[in-house]
Amino acid sequence: MKKALALILVLALCLCLFAGCANNGAASGGSENAAANAENNAATNAEAASGYALDKSWPAEKVKIGVIAFDTTDESFMGVMEYYNYLAQYYNVEFTVSEAIQSAEHEFQFIDSCAAAGCKGIIAYYNVAGAESIKHCTDQGMYYWGMAEFYESVKDDPHFVGGYTFSNPDDPDAKNGDYMGGYELGLTMGNAGLKHIAFCNGGASFGVQMFIDRQQGFFDGIAAAQAAGSETQFDPAVDVIEGFPDEAYFAAQAAFFSADYDGVVVSFDAFTWFQPIIESGKDIKVGCIGTVSETYKSFVDNGTVIALVYDCPEIVFGSAFADLMNAITGHEDLTRTADGLALLNPTQRWTLSGADDFNAVYEKHINDESFFVTAEQMATILGDLNESATRDDVCAMFNKSLDDCLK
């Protein structure tokens, strides 16, 4: 009995280690249906554009790609994986997702295990070890796609295929995407006619750079709105709620509802605000960095969420697939500049400022179970499938605003 139980426990433990490593299924949600629905007409269109039948026959040998994540339960990350798993319905690829990476050592271990499993590339949705992580990956012969922060130190590494940037690469004073997300929120909320707003700064007080940038962007955005005539009140010294939901956060939330605030900006997802807003009975407007999901829909529709900074998965992270597949299949030229350096794909972080914007994305992703960059469109920028594909085509595919996508 004891041995049997021990055996069952060991097996269960082994299985649960793979729970976060959903590939082609667990988090794919409706993508299987999407694949089935879109398959017929997609195949026809793609054949017309690239000659590829979208039947998983390319590449001939299955390509394995590892994805580094900081939180596999995060809605934004799950949206990205839904897109990759959608692509895996049409191409001969397999994605392996890390557990929630908590340290540089943990990140190196995942990269090592990917190399051992025969992965050809790594997508960094998260990077805790910086350029060391990229080097660790490329030293083992795997291609690496990731964020712009570490670009300068690895741009000439032939196995580094670049990444994405929200900034204009030609502008030396350009701010990063987190700053600009915060700025957009500050500007939008500042111009929304609100009287007094608070800002939840997430990990800014703990020194997390991403949140520090978002906070600075918000401060500058609200200041710009005020300079342009907005009467919205915001004082960085007293109107900032620090940290993430815990006892102290709830205490600050209580103070918020006791005061005269009519708006709150959250530098992460705003789920923990909706129920308290309902309970308070107050008309509080919310701006946040979030996702297009069922949870947000009703609060966008009823006018509670008036600004949502959103990273559309296929627009921001779709180029990872194109860059890695082009590099792996011998079309490195499509991932590099004329002088051989890795190239960052300029892309756009969308600010959904109202129900129309939100519902346009919701309609596409949730109702139609489709994406703004489909598998057949992807085929047109893969060198093996479309000989005339150029680097500019790759950039143009992902540097799109919501309006561009809706045209």
């Binding site: 426990l9 949600g29 339960t73 006892e247 205490a251 209580a254 006791s258 129920q275 069922e294 009703s298």
Partner: protein, 334 residues
Amino acid sequence: MKLAKIGKNIGMTLVLPAAVYLFFLLLCNATGHTGFGVGNDLITIIYNAVYAGLVAQAMAINVTTGRFDYAIGAELVLATILGGNLANTLGWGPIGLLLCVVLIAAAIGAISGLVYTALKLPPMVVSVGLAMIYEAVAFMYNKAKGVCLIGNPMLVFAKTGMSLILTVVVLAVLVVIYDYTKIGYNRRALQGGQKIAVDVGINEKRNAVYCYVIAGVMMGLAGCMYLSKNGVVAPETGLGSASYFMSAFLPMFIGGIFAKYSSYPVAIFMGAVVQAIITSGLQKLGVSNSLQTVLNGMIVCAFLIYSSNSYKLVEAQLFREKLAKAKAARQAAL
């Protein structure tokens, strides 16, 4: 005489929360920070106290007998996700939510207890493994969407009235279990010395399973409160569920010190009240999150140091009494 002792015990039970409340009230007023301990702030103090109190009860019932249960956070997450979705699907309302979550949490607690007693491995090792399994199940269920009941009328357990009713019922039941049932007597015997207790015929395994079930029930109740407060509970991975029981330690240590004046569950709850008041007070004073973390750590350390060394005070007192008696005897002899 008996009334005086009861009065003293009540006084000692309430003195720390009252003193801390008074301290922050005066400090906030003196520094011009209004609104401490009234209105919304009081509601939050009550919520934080009840939630942390429930989690601390779940932690304490096993820790005091040498079993650190790392899986209680994962139990909360899994039970709330499964129970919340089930109650929502069945449309059973608040009572249904409570029943579904608590029963599932109790069942998960029973599984933890049975696995621990069957494997005879160190409880920390078993509970870390079980936490990973529970987290994985919660992650795989419902396409990793957890439970989202924002705006659902069944979310009533974070309201002040309901929180207080819950507290009274839970404390009454726990006091009976701890102080007036065989489970409680056996638990205390095992706490005092496992080998002796087992040698005199106490069934340690059965008692451990009961304790795990009670811990599960407490986490189920805490899950209902958390869900009612936030409307959502998301799955966790990589032992991230541990964040759910981080607020349990200070109440547990305070409870250990003040238990002699009332009952252990009551003392733990008073500890949770103290912690909630400190959190709100520091928040009102505008103390930064980082400094709050440092201060909380220092307070936990202070209580740990006191509880680990309190016997020395008793020894010193006994020594003084003995010395006084000896001196008096020598005086008399002279």
